[in-house]
């Protein structure tokens, strides 16, 4: 177990709970005796900007940053932010992306001037990414999060989806325990529900192209 390595490039928009997500994974690793480290972003870039966390699992890894072409998976809490970091994805790596698009204000500024302009869509992101990998799952995390009981659980929906991947070396039980221990007390149930909803969705949408576990 400890010798297995796995790097997830996680991205999103400031305010989506990306750092909490990486903390949940890291704390699960700590409890399971797995060495993990992250390179995180705090500060300026969190203000509705593009953000990323490099999540790295493996005994011998020292760099908190994933090298170009070194991510086993790309997990994006927002669709455009999946494409923004495509250079980090290993050829044929896994993409788990939220279908939700938050339009950048610089794109909206162009829309004001150009009546023909169309926003960059999740479908377009998927089409572009499919040129480097066939292991893509686009998940409507916002709808599932609402179903779980809180729109703030999109991050845990995506974690649930990631937890189905067999190569992801963190035990599912440790992840669930970590979710329960690290989200606010009153939100534990909705987050655990979100985790399960993410798992079910990945089984439908991902496990035919990626080897999954129970």
């Amino acid at each position: 177990m400890a010798e297995r390595e796995f790097s997830v490039y996680m991205s999103g928009v400031g305010g989506q709970g990306l750092v909490l997500l990486s903390n949940v994974i890291g704390a699960a690793c700590a409890s399971a005796g797995i060495r993990a480290l992250t390179g995180e972003q705090h500060g300026l870039s969190q203000r509705s900007g593009s953000i990323n966390v490099h999540m790295r699992i493996g005994e011998r890894i020292r760099s908190p940053l994933i090298p170009i072409g070194g991510a086993d998976a790309l997990l994006a809490l927002e669709a455009l932010e999946a494409l923004r970091y495509v250079e980090y994805l290993r050829p044929g790596g896994i993409v788990l992306m939220n279908s939700r698009v938050q339009h950048p204000v610089s794109e909206t500024a162009k829309h004001m001037k150009d009546k023909q302009a169309r926003y960059f869509s999740a479908d377009e992101v998927r089409a572009r990414l499919s040129r480097v990998t066939d292991k893509i799952s686009v998940i409507d995390a916002l709808t599932l999060a609402k179903e779980a009981g809180s729109t703030l659980t999109e991050n845990i929906i995506m974690l649930g989806a990631l937890s189905t991947v067999e190569a992801f070396p963190v035990p599912v039980d440790a992840l669930k325990r970590s979710v329960a221990e690290n989200v606010p007390k009153k939100a534990v149930d909705v987050n655990l529900k979100a985790f399960e909803l993410g798992r079910s969705k990945a089984r439908e949408q991902l496990c035919h192209v990626v080897k999954c576990r129970d």
């Binding site: 903390n23 705090h42 300026l44 250079e87 162009k110 004001m112 690290n182």
Partner: protein, 627 residues
């Protein structure tokens, strides 16, 4: 993770942010007085110390600026208590006057100064290399690579500090501070807080003229002893593989070097320096003796390279030193494993494991048409409204804007593109003084409340005294917003939620003898424009205060009180697409419908500040049904 692990009794294992591990180390070392001003990438040191303060008896202040923070620690450490402060390297610029003198006078109680560089200038105005502070001030400097090591080094730093009577720098970079990893927690054996008796002779900490000269000699002698200790210190790590190629590195550079060697499938010897001032010259010389090639992996300036080259002259003149001067590495921007792989591969003539350029070229092609997403003002941010009102008030008036450090710095980014100068904390008042002599346009300076108290005050005092003709816009949002809404001198609370006396900006200004003060509410955006226009038309110096709480801060308070944050919606019937709600405003909650081109508000993102609703000439923005 988080504060819960910082207070957890050891022995235990936790996943921690490096800044949290630094705090844990300080608490395990029984720190007694702490003070700091927030600054990325060190802010979580302050935040964590503040969050866990109620559980411990250390005394803490969130200081008005880094200089005051360092001086507060200096005073307590002179008396004999253990202290810690943290700041970014540009913060140490502010505190450096006290810092250089403090190395002369020394201290008694252990004092640790965490100073972080920001290669890539992620959240800073420059990529300054803070390692110059160690040698130029004769202050010992330690450099960790990861959270576990940072915790260990903080504890070692307190010991070194007390043994040599000198503050110790713990120098980090963004990718060390903002790295989380597994940390072993030790025991929390703390003694109850107790004041000490001042047991020093008169003049003990006075440095001037003759005493300065005496201190200087003692400082040099101290540095010689430190170097001898560091030559044998286990804070430095030698991995001798028997190879005739070696790497000398430290901090983040070590992490990239280890991974790069794995990628390349090579096993050079490695010298990881944990003590980067004074450098352990004997240890470095011994390491060089066995080598034909030594590769220096360090971000920013060629600090290690300079010294290794000099040491090699005696230790092994034939060794080939590879680094920035040989063109293998850059002095610009932060490194990553792939950058170090390329540098080493080029030096050794080996093949790249991945064609990085091909990957980047392909990525560029795939990203064609993808819009940038720069950080911008949050939904509900009062600054957005203040700057909108300011530009309305300045319509038709040619002007130059000296802005400052804070969330409002983001106004220069796409698509707002507003602001002409930005140097450093508090510079807007001084720069405006110079501009008003030099330019024909109206001069406007912009500063936030925290930056105003931090370093803007002397510039304004200067402007009032000289009658400098500019208008200062103070964006008062109650907190130090950019770094995470910490309290500042305008707040009624300080570290650990303890009560504090709030300063009132207009009272401060009146105390300086400034009478021309205009106060507006940016949420009442239309009514803010008139008074601003009048104020801007008058001869300066005068001040406009735009006052409204930071939206993130206000929302947190609302949630605490159990209040719901609702959202607005655009009426499809009423919207005539003037884009008044979007133009110059650019709220992330607003976009344009691809089909009917009408404005759309995101329910999830809207903060219902109502500013766009007030600006809409057709009244098409109303509260969303069902909130």
């Amino acid at each position: 993770m988080g504060a819960a692990d910082v207070v957890r009794e050891g022995p235990a294992r936790a996943f921690m942010l490096c800044n949290e591990a630094i705090v844990r180390g300080a608490i395990e070392a029984d720190v007694k007085v702490v003070s700091a001003y927030p600054g990325s990438p060190t802010t979580e040191v302050l935040d964590t110390l503040s969050a866990v303060a109620p559980g411990f008896d250390y005394r803490m202040e969130i200081s008005a600026n880094e200089k005051v923070a360092l001086e507060t620690c200096a005073g307590a450490s002179m008396a004999g208590l253990r202290t810690i402060t943290s700041m970014k390297s540009v913060g140490l610029n502010v505190a450096s006057d006290a810092f250089y003198s403090l190395s002369y006078t020394g201290i008694k109680g252990g004092m640790v100064l965490v100073v972080a560089d920001d290669p890539q200038a992620h959240s800073s105005q420059t990529e300054q290399d803070g390692r110059t502070f160690g040698p130029s001030a004769y202050v010992p400097m330690l450099e960790p690579s990861n959270p576990a090591e940072a915790k260990r080094m903080v504890k070692a730093a307190f010991e070194i500090s007390e043994r040599y009577g000198v503050p110790v720098l713990l120098r980090t970079t963004t990718r060390v501070n903002h790295q989380s990893g597994i940390v072993d927690l030790g025991k929390l054996e703390r003694k109850p807080f107790a004041k000490v008796r001042w047991d020093h002779p008169p003049g003990r900490f006075v440095t001037v003229a003759d005493s300065a000269r005496t201190f200087k000699l003692a400082m040099l002698e101290r540095t010689t002893r430190l170097e001898a200790e560091f030559d044998g210190s286990d804070l430095n790590l030698v991995e001798d593989t028997g190879s005739d190629t070696g790497i000398v590195t430290s901090g983040a550079g070590y992490n990239y070097s280890v991974d790069a060697c794995r990628e390349l499938g090579i096993e050079p010897s490695m010298l990881k320096l944990g003590t980067t001032y004074p450098l352990p010259k004997k240890l470095i010389g011994d390491f060089l003796k066995k080598l034909k090639t030594v590769i220096i992996v360090e971000e920013l300036s060629p600090y290690l390279e300079l010294h290794v080259t000099a040491i090699a002259k005696d230790a092994n003149p034939s060794v080939r030193v590879v680094g920035k001067w040989t063109g293998h590495f850059s002095e610009a921007f932060e490194y990553n494993t792939n950058i170090v792989v390329e540098g080493i591969a080029k030096a050794l003539g080996t093949k790249l494991p991945v064609d990085y350029k091909a990957v980047m070229d392909k990525a560029k092609e795939l990203k064609e048409g993808l819009a940038d997403r720069w950080p911008t003002f949050c939904p509900g941010c009062p600054h957005r409204a203040s700057l909108h009102a300011l530009r309305q008030a300045l319509k038709g008036v040619k002007h130059v804007v000296a802005t400052d450090i804070g969330c409002y710095s983001m106004s220069f980014l796409e698509p707002i593109n507003y602001g002409d100068t930005l140097l450093c904390m508090g510079a807007c008042t001084g720069v405006a003084a110079g501009l008003q002599y030099a330019v024909e346009e109206k001069v406007v300076a912009i500063v936030g409340d925290s930056t105003f108290y931090h370093a803007g005050l002397p510039g304004l005092v200067n402007a009032i005294h000289h009658g400098d003709d500019f208008t200062l816009l103070i964006l008062d949002n109650e907190v130090t917003a950019m770094t995470g809404q910490q309290p500042n001198p305008g707040s009624d609370a300080n570290a650990g939620g303890r009560a504090a006396k709030p300063m009132v900006i207009e009272n401060v200004l009146r105390g300086f003898g400034l009478e021309d003060i205009t106060i507006v509410d940016p949420y009442d955006v239309k009514n803010a424009v008139g008074p601003m226009k009048d104020a801007l038309a008058r001869k300066g110096p005068n001040v406009i205060i735009s006052r409204r709480a930071c939206a993130l801060h206000a929302d947190r308070l609302k949630r605490k009180r159990g209040e719901k944050i609702s959202s607005n919606d655009v009426s499809k019937e009423a919207c005539k697409k003037p884009y008044t709600c979007i133009r110059e405003f650019y709220c992330p909650a607003l976009s344009i419908d691809d089909d009917d081109r009408k404005s759309v508000i995101s329910k999830e993102l809207c903060d219902k500040c109502d500013v766009c609703a007030k600006l809409c000439p057709f009244g098409s923005i109303k509260e969303r049904e069902g909130g």
